[in-house]
């Protein structure tokens, strides 16, 4: 059964990548970015996905309903740089079948 969703990720150099993200591996957006090596190792997911750094910050460009922001993510984003109203931490957003067509852009490195 094909459980991939197509998502569009713009990397930090502005390059657009259309990728198939699996929904059956409990991956989050940060992990998908690493899986496809869309940002150099060591510049994304530094804290390992604990919402304790903002290295996976991304801007959500579409209106997909995403998991609501939890306290930890909100607190981290309140101390991050380059934050916009559509900023999220990629590590806190699990890939689900509802995300077909999602478009995001990676925030610049700190």
């Amino acid at each position: 059964m094909d459980q991939d969703v197509q998502i569009k990720i713009t990397d930090r150099d502005g390059k657009l990548h259309e990728i198939a993200a699996p929904t059956d591996m409990a991956l989050n957006i940060m992990e998908v970015v690493r899986l496809y090596e869309l940002a150099p190792e060591g510049t994304i997911g530094i804290c390992g996905g604990m919402a304790m750094c903002a290295s996976c910050q991304c801007y959500v460009l579409t209106e997909h309903p995403l998991r609501e922001m939890q306290d930890e993510e909100e607190a981290m984003l309140s101390e991050a740089f380059n934050v916009k109203p559509n900023s999220r931490l990629g590590c806190q957003i699990q890939i689900t079948p509802e995300m077909e067509g999602l478009e995001i852009e990676l925030a610049p490195e700190d």
């Binding site: 190792e41 060591g42 804290c47 604990m50 306290d71 909100e74 101390e79 740089f81 380059n82």
Partner: protein, 351 residues
């Protein structure tokens, strides 16, 4: 000059376990770490978070793992240079290395083991274009000596524990303390949040939220800052000091300039043998290294440290043969004169 057998850069779990494995081979270790305490990420980022994949520990808090590793290596009397960052390395005529920290402390060893994880933790600097000009001229990212702020006007920004704690502390020292945070909510120990509320009510701390520092002003040193609330125009506030406290982020830092082969922000090593880098005598173990199939796991760091120590033994004792001894059989002789060993079986006849 501090001299040792294995100089370990990074006092995280991999570095700490190296002390134990080296000790079994009668090799002495000294550790350098940019953080003021041992434990690396485990103590700096997530001391209260559980880890589930340390062999034989179904669950252990990262802070407790650090404690246990320190305890395990204690009898091998490791030396520590903490709060200093390894800056330069120079190879000596005798084949050994001298590593100097940013504070000028020198260390000499025949073997260097880089167990630097993601790099050294550096303060995260806010994105203000002229901020570097004001560094040491009113802007500081960490507080070393609170007395510097006596009777000064101080602005702190940030919303975590360190921002809260320093605002509280400096309210007693500085003439004015202003705390600026992007949100109304603070993320810190409840005690600290309550205390800041109390000091605000007493007029000892000025709180500006939700707001951001958006500009720095001053001819030769910091004289004022600009603060902007969402949807409002910037306001200028006179101040002597601005202390942004936005946490720490790891940077590979000076190690990247040591002539080591770097790939994917990590140091390439020989994983078929002993995790040596392209420079003989310098090893890289734990999260800081990379090789085909590398996994950044604490347990992999332990394994890498163990094999690296064998190679270090050969460098320090050339030509000497080594036979693996099990700790259960041979016990452990500490450098501090202690001995641990399995209790001897009692041989006694039953009549």
């Amino acid at each position: 000059m501090i001299t040792t057998d294995i100089l370990i850069i990074g006092a995280g779990p991999t570095g700490l376990f190296t002390v134990f494995e080296a000790g079994l081979l009668k090799l002495k270790c000294h550790l350098i770490d940019a953080l003021p305490q041992a434990g690396g990420q485990c103590s700096e980022l997530y001391p209260k978070k559980p880890i589930y994949d340390i062999p034989a520990y179904p669950e252990i808090l990262a802070g407790d793992l650090t404690e246990k590793l320190l305890e395990q290596s204690k009898q091998f009397e490791p030396g520590f240079t903490l709060g200093e960052r390894a800056e330069t390395i120079e190879k000596q005529a005798d084949g050994s290395f001298v590593v100097t920290t940013n504070k000028g402390t020198q260390h000499k060893a025949p073997v260097v083991a880089i167990a630097g994880g993601l790099g050294s933790f550096e303060p995260r600097k806010p994105l203000l274009e002229n901020i570097e000009f004001y560094e040491d001229k009113g802007v500081a990212y960490m507080i070393k000596d609170p007395e510097v702020y006596r009777n000064k006007k101080v602005v702190i920004s940030g919303g975590g524990d360190s921002a809260l704690d320093w605002a509280i502390f400096l309210s007693d020292v500085a003439s004015e303390v202003t705390l600026i945070h992007r949100r109304n909510e603070f993320r810190g120990a409840l005690d600290s949040v309550d205390k800041v509320q109390e000091l605000k009510n007493k007029g000892l701390i000025t709180l500006i939220t939700p707001a951001e520092v958006t500009g720095l002003i001053g001819e030769t040193k910091l004289e004022a800052i600009q603060v902007t609330k969402p949807g409002e125009s910037p306001v200028t506030i006179e101040t002597d000091c601005f202390i942004p406290l936005f946490g720490l982020s790891p940077k590979l830092g000076p190690i990247a300039q040591w002539g080591l082969e770097i790939e994917k922000n990590a140091i390439k090593v020989n994983n078929a043998l002993d995790y040596q880098t392209n420079i003989p005598g310098i090893f890289a173990i734990g999260d800081v290294n990379t090789y085909p199939g590398k996994l950044k796991l604490i347990l992999c760091g332990f394994h890498e440290a163990t094999l690296m120590c064998q190679a270090a033994y050969q460098i320090i004792n050339p030509g000497k043969r080594y036979v693996l001894k099990y700790t259960t059989v041979s016990g452990i002789d500490g450098f501090d004169g202690t001995r641990k060993e399995a209790p001897k079986a009692v041989v006694k006849s039953i009549n």
